[in-house]
Amino acid sequence: MVPAWPSVPPAPGTQTATAYQTTYQTPAFTPVQVRQGFGQTYSAPQPVYPATAYGAHSHLSPQTNPSTVNSTPATPSTPAQAKIEWPESVRSYVQRAFLQHNMDESVSRQEMEVKLKETISHAAATGAMYTIDWEAMPLPQHMIKASRVQYLQQAQLPAALSFPAATATSKKRKSSDMSEMGVSGGAAPPWRANQSRLEDRVTSPADKRLAGSEATPKALTKHQLKLEKRQKRFDGGYQSSYRDPSPPPSNGPVVGTCQDLEKRYLRLTAAPNPSVVRPESVLRKTLELLKRKWRKEQNYNYICDQFKSMRQDLTVQRIRNEFTVEVYEIHARIALEKGDLGEYNQCQTQLKALYQQGIKGKPLEFKAYRILYFIHTANRTALNDVLADLTTAEKSERAIKHALGVRSALALGNYHRFFQLYNDTPNMGAYLMDMFVARERLAALCNICKAYKPDVPLRFITDELLFESDADAAQFILDHGGENLLEDRNGTVVVLTGKASNIFEPARAAAFGRVDIKGQI
């Protein structure tokens, strides 16, 4: 039975659940039409399948355990339109996949065939058919198993296909979910490399964290995942107890041997394989490369992904030194600049611990961020902890003094001082302050409206709340329902505070009620 092979593979992120449903009797492959339009330049490395190389199941077939994972950048070749002559290496790869001793009970033949097709057509599509080391390519059953554990969505196939069980729920998933998973799985796919998918990045880390246990089928709906996460939290709260029996971890840190500069981020679910872990010397070069790329391209998706894989490599090798600090600091700053608080947060937590171990870096800068961050999340308990951590000497340092000043100004409702401090924020603290400045403006406006009668000049609001211009101030008032409060009086605009009563209260309450950040400490 020959399946209906769609003439054009589904676009990433779309549902084409109707395809590929038939059972394959033989692994015979009909020539496929080839994906078009990928011949452009690649900024990301050729997508490989490093997941399998982590060795979770490699004992099944030692010959497939690659010593170095293929990471040859794809040489873009003009995709062939017509029939393809399969190279010998591909044929033997297919044969090997179906050898009796390589079979895996938990992976159905059907799934394997789908996977095989996917792999090969992908290779064909990217023109990597002849450059891939098929000998070293992991077998489809291993890829499937690895991808199951990882909640990793191969961007080309909707979840439903590699997972028949998912069909029931998959309809509910929106396309945004699909793209989110696609992104979270690794570096931005080449066809999306230049698009900014910031929203995806901000929301994805929490989802990824769920992928820890093998019991999590990746097709669970978001709701179910949320429930499960709740369950985990309430059940004693700590992730560590929920790890399924995994292969016994090796003693002591891994020492990496991988020489590639770039590597996509994949969440570990098994002990890492040294061949895909980069040693510090390589990571140092990577950092330089990434710094250059960030300056040149400003592609946050790519940068974030690369930094995450760097952090992972550092962690598995237990490298904790000034270089580690540098990596986290740079990632934190970039995340801050892009408003990715989830990622920023993770870095911040690590940095705190690293500084505590006495490793040099920029602790003052980051402690100041930490204070500002907790002001933003209105986390009083954490704020108290930060205060407890500060030494007297630190309190007199400029950045920290500034952050503490912000804190006390807000605690006392001193908006006048708060906006003065906002105007003069050291380092990148302004990015953090930007996040709560609107909320504080509302609070101040509520204050002013209640206290001043009958009116104040608009310029007073502009100056006190540090708007760029009178127009900005007026716009802000209009945006929050104050259209009746502005009056032009002989050329000066005044705000009729006496008439405002409680106009801004709801907006203020809403602004203070909702600070929800994924990965929040």
Binding site: N384, A388, K453
Partner: protein
């Protein structure tokens, strides 16, 4: 060990849970611990325990059911092993073993889980729950010791699981055993919570004690918010639970204290005050340390909710609290704003440590209110327009006067806008009634009650 079994038998006969719990206590004089340890060896411990328990039964009628006996045999065998680990710590017998406390923790954890299993599988009766108290209490202590020990040796390869994480988890590394302990205590908590037996024979009677242990653990772990889950499941199961007032006073006080502190940390001062007041009124009159802890939070609560300050008499028995609160109180009362700031700064470290800094800081509003009130009073009265009319205070106060008053203490000139900002805050918070007329540079205060609740 024989003494242990006769106590066991006595306790079983009289259904005395606390007596029974003492038989599994690891807090014995050292020579007793050693005697227990020396009384048998790893091969025959089960037999010795078995014989020990059976010998205490005079007649068959008295004997526990076979199943239950089996459960206790397991518990005491594990207990013997844990005692062994403890003896080794004291003796420093095992130079090879670098982490003797971790060993104690693990062996004690075994005692805990066997007890847990005893209730589920061997039909231990509900009156024996004090054993859970002892087990939980020492599990926590051993966990803390084990963590200290590991952190002192500062080896970083504690947890193999770090391998699977993208980033290492500093908190987990610091409190590895205590986090584990929290999980174990949680199991005990659920063991008590989920008992469906009728109330007079229910493990639910153990629940508040275990809950208190959990609170203590969560606070130490810096994850006090997790305690809210406990509060939630307790209030959800309130219907089929004995009322808190039926539990021992000590448990009630501790529970109310933690509930109050948790509300305090969430800034729900009204609820916090309610719970803390209950704890305060029930607390044993001689439990000075506990009373001091309750007051540490109750006093700031009171300051914010009712704007009242502690009296000298109240704080008299607590020199530490006097040091904490009296200077601040004095400055608030006198409206000495600058002195208040200084005092707050002075005590900052201590306040922060007790998590009351951010609350006390808000006392500044009251200090400021009192200062502004003084300005208002100093303004005197309007000139009477008609003869014989009642005197009216001057309600139009120039902002400059307030500015002068605020600058008086600190000798720093404040910018007029900032003073206006303070005044706006006072008005917004209803501490002062009136409005600012910016154009004219005056504050127009209410003729009736410019400072609500202060008599003017």
């Amino acid at each position: 060990m024989d003494a242990l079994f006769s106590d066991f038998s006595d306790a079983q006969k009289s259904c005395d849970g606390f007596k029974l719990s003492r038989t599994i206590s690891p807090a014995l004089p050292f020579d007793k611990l050693r005697n227990v340890w020396k009384s048998c060896n790893a091969q025959d411990v089960k037999n010795v325990v078995k014989r020990g328990i059976h010998n205490t039964y005079i007649s068959k009628a008295q004997a526990l059911p076979k199943d239950e006996t089996a459960g206790w045999i397991e518990v005491y065998s594990a207990y013997w092993k844990a005692v062994g680990a403890l003896v080794k710590v004291r003796d420093s017998l095992s130079p090879n073993n670098k982490s003797p406390w971790a060993n104690v923790y693990e062996t004690w954890k075994e005692v805990v889980s066997l007890l847990h299993r005893g209730y589920l599988a061997h039909g231990f009766e509900a009156w024996t729950v004090p054993c859970l108290y002892v087990a939980g209490k020492y599990l926590r202590e051993f966990a803390v010791k084990a963590d200290e020990e590991r952190n002192n040796s500062s080896s970083m390869d504690s947890s193999a699981e770090a391998n699977f994480q993208d980033d290492f988890n500093p908190e987990a590394e610091q409190h590895e055993k205590l986090e584990d302990c929290a999980r174990q205590l949680n199991r005990l908590f659920n063991l008590c919570l989920s008992d469906r037996a009728p109330l007079d024979n229910s493990r639910k009677w153990g629940i508040y004690h275990v809950a208190n242990l959990l609170f203590k653990t969560y606070f130490k772990l810096n994850s006090a918010p997790l305690s809210n889950n406990i509060l939630k499941s307790l209030s959800a199961g309130r219907g089929d639970m004995p009322p808190l007032s039926k539990f021992p006073k000590s448990q009630q006080v501790t529970y109310k204290y933690y509930e109050g502190v948790l509300r305090f940390l969430e800034e729900d001062y009204v609820q916090a005050e309610k719970h803390l007041t209950e704890a305060w009124s029930m607390c044993h009159k001689d439990a000075m340390k506990n009373k001091e802890m309750i007051l540490t939070y109750l006093v700031p609560c009171h300051l914010l909710t009712t704007h009242t300050l502690p009296t000298k008499k109240l704080l008299e028995p607590y020199p530490r609290l006097q040091k904490l609160f009296l200077p601040l109180s004095r400055h608030i009362k006198g409206g000495e704003l600058h002195a208040f700031d200084l005092a707050l700064q002075e005590g900052e470290d201590e306040f922060v440590k007790r998590r009351i800094y951010l609350t006390l800081e808000r006392g500044r509003d009251i200090a400021l209110r009192n200062l502004l009130r003084k300005v208002f009073l100093a303004g005197g009265f309007e000139e009477a327009k008609t003869e014989g009319a009642s005197k009216v205070r001057r309600t139009r106060v120039p902002i400059a006067e307030f500015t002068a008053a605020i600058s008086l203490g600190s000798h720093q000139t404040l910018d007029g806008d900032e003073v206006e900002c303070f005044l706006a805050n006072m008005i917004y918070k209803n501490l002062m009634k009136g409005y600012i007329a910016r154009e004219r540079g005056v504050v127009v205060l209410s003729k009736s009650g410019a400072f609500p609740g202060t008599g003017v």
